[in-house]
Structures are given as structure tokens and as C-alpha cells.
């Protein structure tokens, strides 16, 4: 992900997908093994998701994606399944912070969400905040990340960043 180019097939979701939808609370108390947890990702609202999703795939959703609890297991299981990016109209704030911290890029771009259908090929250039719908040949521009957050994403998350540089980015 060094040049910040992400590409994959779109999975489309509606508004207010909660952290309980992403991974139900009852699972997270039993294990820190994300592979185990990931099997249950999205099972309440999209049964079979964990089996069908392919590395690189991109999730596309409406307003307030990731609302609810602070559970970091939510972005972690999606990353575990190989989701390369989530594009939504807006994100809940803790989910947003958690995703960057664990190295899962998010793009806030309402226009793009409206013009991407399930199954479309989507490409994201993270450094520039560009979203392309390759299937429909459309391009959208989102607000790029502040520099220090982009650095965390480039390193694959805060843990890897600290391991490499021996300090926090702030």
C-alpha cells in the first residue's frame, strides 16, 4: 500500500451500520484472535459476508458507518478479511479513529457512495483522496488526510509505526 493505491470490488451497505452489526458484542469478550472473530463479521446484516469477501474488496456505505461502541474489533475484523478501504457518506468518530490507528483507510465521500453499486470495480488513491468507479468510469474527489494520519496509514497502523520509529507520531 506504499503508493496508497487500493483496488477491489464494492460491497454496498446502507446508513447507520453499527459496530454491533460489524461484530456483535457477545463474541469479543472471549478472544483476541481476530481470525476467529472475523468469521462473524457482518453476519447479522449480511450472512455469508466473511466467506465471500476477497482481499482488496472495498466496502461502500451510507451515513454514520461504525456507530455505536468503541470496539476496535470492528475495524480489525474487516481488515482481517482483507477489506482494503471503506468509503462512506460519513463515519462515527471512534470507528474513524480506530480504523486509522489499525491501518484501515477510510474515505468520506457522499457523491461517490451514491454512484457506486454493489459489485462495481473501485479504485482509491489515498494520498490524493481520489475515488474512481472503474465500472462506471467516474471519478470523485474526497478530502485528503492530514499528514500525520497518512503516515500512520502508510505504515499499516500505529503499532507498526511505533515499532519502526520507536515513538508515537504526536
Amino acid at each position: 500500500m506504499s503508493e496508497g493505491l487500493l483496488k477491489g470490488r464494492a460491497w454496498k451497505f446502507g446508513d447507520s451500520v453499527s459496530t454491533d452489526d460489524i461484530i456483535a458484542g457477545r463474541y469479543k469478550f472471549k478472544t483476541l484472535n481476530m481470525k476467529e472473530l472475523a468469521k462473524h463479521a457482518m453476519e447479522n446484516i449480511r450472512p455469508g459476508f466473511a466467506d465471500q469477501v476477497k482481499p482488496g474488496d472495498i466496502m461502500v456505505a451510507g451515513w454514520n458507518f461504525g456507530c455505536g461502541s468503541s470496539r476496535e474489533q470492528a475495524p480489525r475484523v474487516l481488515k482481517e478479511l482483507g477489506i482494503s478501504c471503506i468509503i462512506a457518506k460519513s463515519f462515527a468518530r471512534i470507528f474513524y479513529r480506530n480504523s486509522i490507528t489499525i491501518g484501515l483507510p477510510l474515505i468520506e465521500c457522499p457523491e461517490a457512495v451514491d454512484r457506486i453499486d454493489e459489485g462495481d470495480e473501485v479504485e482509491v488513491i489515498l494520498d490524493e483522496g481520489v475515488v474512481r468507479n472503474l465500472s462506471k468510469k467516474l471519478e470523485f474527489k474526497a478530502k485528503p488526510y492530514p499528514d500525520f494520519l497518512l503516515k500512520i496509514l502508510r505504515e499499516g497502523g500505529l503499532i507498526k509505526y511505533v515499532k519502526k520509529f520507536g515513538r508515537l507520531p504526536w
Binding site: D20, R71, I94, N98, T101, L168, W170
Partner: protein
Amino acid sequence: MGKTIVEKILGKLSGKDVSAGDLVVAPIDYAMAHDGTAPLAIKAFMEMGGERVWNPSRIIFIIDHVSPSTSIGTSNLHKLMRDFARKHGIKLYDVGSGICHQIMVEDGYVKPGYIILGADSHTCTYGALGAFSTGIGSTEMASVFLSGKLWFKVPETIKITIMDEPPSWIMGKDIILNIIGALGSDGATYKAIEFDGSVIKKLSISDRLTICNMVVEMGAKAGIIKPDEKTKSFLGDNLGRIDIVEPDKDAEYADEYLVGVSGLEPQVAKPSKVDDVTSVTEVEGIEIDQVFIGSCTNGRIEDLRAAARILKGRKVKDGVRLLVIPASRKIYLKALNEDLIKVFLEAGGAVYSPGCGPCMGGHIGILGDDEICISTSNRNFAGRMGSPKAKIYLASPLTAAASAITGKITDPRRFL
């Protein structure tokens, strides 16, 4: 330009003059994590090569979510927390102590002007005492363990002024549900909410905590109430040196709302959206299977008194189960001394040891398919309390208690 409370707190502690939109790094007064989030934070801390925490006396661990443990997996995670706490000299509140947010408030960790981070979304509760407090995830919490600092984007603030003559039965829960219904579940995303007005001044600290607890249900980063005499007397001896922060008269707000409560009816959030709020009269008569009175939203002594007021000398409807969980051991003891526990038991309810209980479907009180629960907690997402096919209505302790008696969602004013 004048400043909001949050701009002032973040400005003062980061040592800069800041306004909404600025990125700051600020030192943290207290960091809290519980059994749902601490284990992952500990793992991240170790992966980052952490050897010593920045200040063990500023970190609080609480085992409340699945407490006591119900599986080997959970027990091992609890053990990880206990071992880490012992090694680093971190204070750990073990099984039965109570819900994290209640303990933070009750044991004096929360003071006006503080910055407090919790690895839990309802950390926003502490704004009721004039602190800036917000939720973060586990890995960020690990970075706080390392450094005692974190970056923030200074949020814009929405000001909500609550006025009029409040009805005698009104609870903080009715007010905040009404506001959530009006603003929507993303109505305050990334923002702080300042509550003010004559009604806020009249409300107890308990009701104020309920209100700030639920701001995250509108996506807010923090809820905050300017400290007053009630705050001071609540903090009492623990006040010490504090920093009462007030907003400037010309503070700039992203939005300002006036909320009148005189004509309000008891409020209920319908399944499965917190912002699908209506008056109890609209949903009266819906049959229920379970009633839950507790959680960090409504498990305080005032809430138990309210429920007991209705349940005293009455019986829970056959076929309905009533679960009551005091939010902390101290509350449980008070409820014992005031004979409230007796009221619940005589009514046919079940009273459990302090903790989160069924609130997030972790263990006791899990709902089966198509079951209906009325709960005093703060979230009703599908699957939150068990089966994704179960339905959860959110309401005040008065409304929940009234419903327990009839077995149907019931207007508590019938019993008052």
C-alpha cells in the same frame, strides 16, 4: 472570538489558544479501560514494545462487562488484565465493583476541567461534571498508556438549552431520548454538545449523567455541562483544586437549539434505532418479555428509587422477567439500606451483582428470537442484547417499572 467549554479545556491543557478544527496534543488526567477493551490495549501496548506505563496512578481498569466471567476465554482475558495491573501497579476494580462509568464518577476520578479518556464509547458521561471526556479504541488507549497524551481535533460545539417547567415525573432519560429523536443518530457527529438552561440547573447529577451518557448516540464526541453548586456538593470533599470552566458569552456554536419540556410525555426509543423516538402513548400496550433496569445510563440510586416507587406493593406480570442491576456496589448497598432491593424481590424481580449485565448481550439476560425487552440502557441496535431478531425499546426507569407490572409497554403516569 469567545470560546466554548471544550475549546477552553483543550486549549488550557494543550498549552495553546485553540478553536474548533485545530489539531492538538493534550495530556490526559485519567485513562480507563474495561474487560471489553483493556485486553486488546494490553496486547497492543506489548506489541509497541511498551515496558512501563506513563503513570500507573492515572490508569484505571474495571471488570464490568462480562462480570463475573462465563467462559474460559473470558476468564483468560480477565486474568491478562489482573496480571498486567499487578505488574504495573494499576488500580483494578474487580468483579462486582460496578460499571466503569459509575465507578469513575463515584470514586472521584472525574473533576471539572479534566481530560479523561476511556476505551468505551460512553466515556462521554463525565461531561456531566464539567470534564472533557471521550471514548477511544484499544490501540489508541495503548498509546495513552505509553505517553499519557493523545491527539484531538478540537470539536465544534452544539449548544442545547433546555427550558420550561419540567413535569414532576420527568427523568433525564426522557429529555435525552427526545433530543436524540430530534437531532438523529448522526446529528452531532464529531461535535461536542453543551447543555444549559433552567431545566439542567434543576436536574440532579444523576439525571445529568444520563443525559451526557447518551450524547454518543447522536455521534457526539462529548457532552458537557457547566459545573454549578450541585456539581460542587456532589464532589464534596473530593473537590480539591478544580478548574470550573465556563463558556464565554460570545462563544461560537455550530448550532443552537432550544428544547421545551413542559408538554413532554414519557419517551420511548423503538427498535432498532436509538433515534426512532416516540411518546409512550404511541406504543402503549405492546407486550414484552423482559424488563431491564440498570446500565451506566440508568442504574444509579435515583433510578432504582424511581423504579421502586412504582413497584412497591405491586407484582411483576406473570410471564415477564424483571432484571435489576445496580450500577455499582455502593449503589447496591444504598439500595439495600433503603429497602429497595426488597421491593424488587417482593415484586418478583431478579437482582444481580453490579456490572453491565444484559446491556450489550455479553452474558445474563440475553434475549431469544422475537423476544421483546424494555430496557433503561442506551442502545437498541438489532442483536445488541442477544438475538438479532429480538426487539429492544429504550425508556426511563419509571416507564420500564410500569411496563413490568402490566407486561405491556405502559405510561408510568398511571401509577404515579
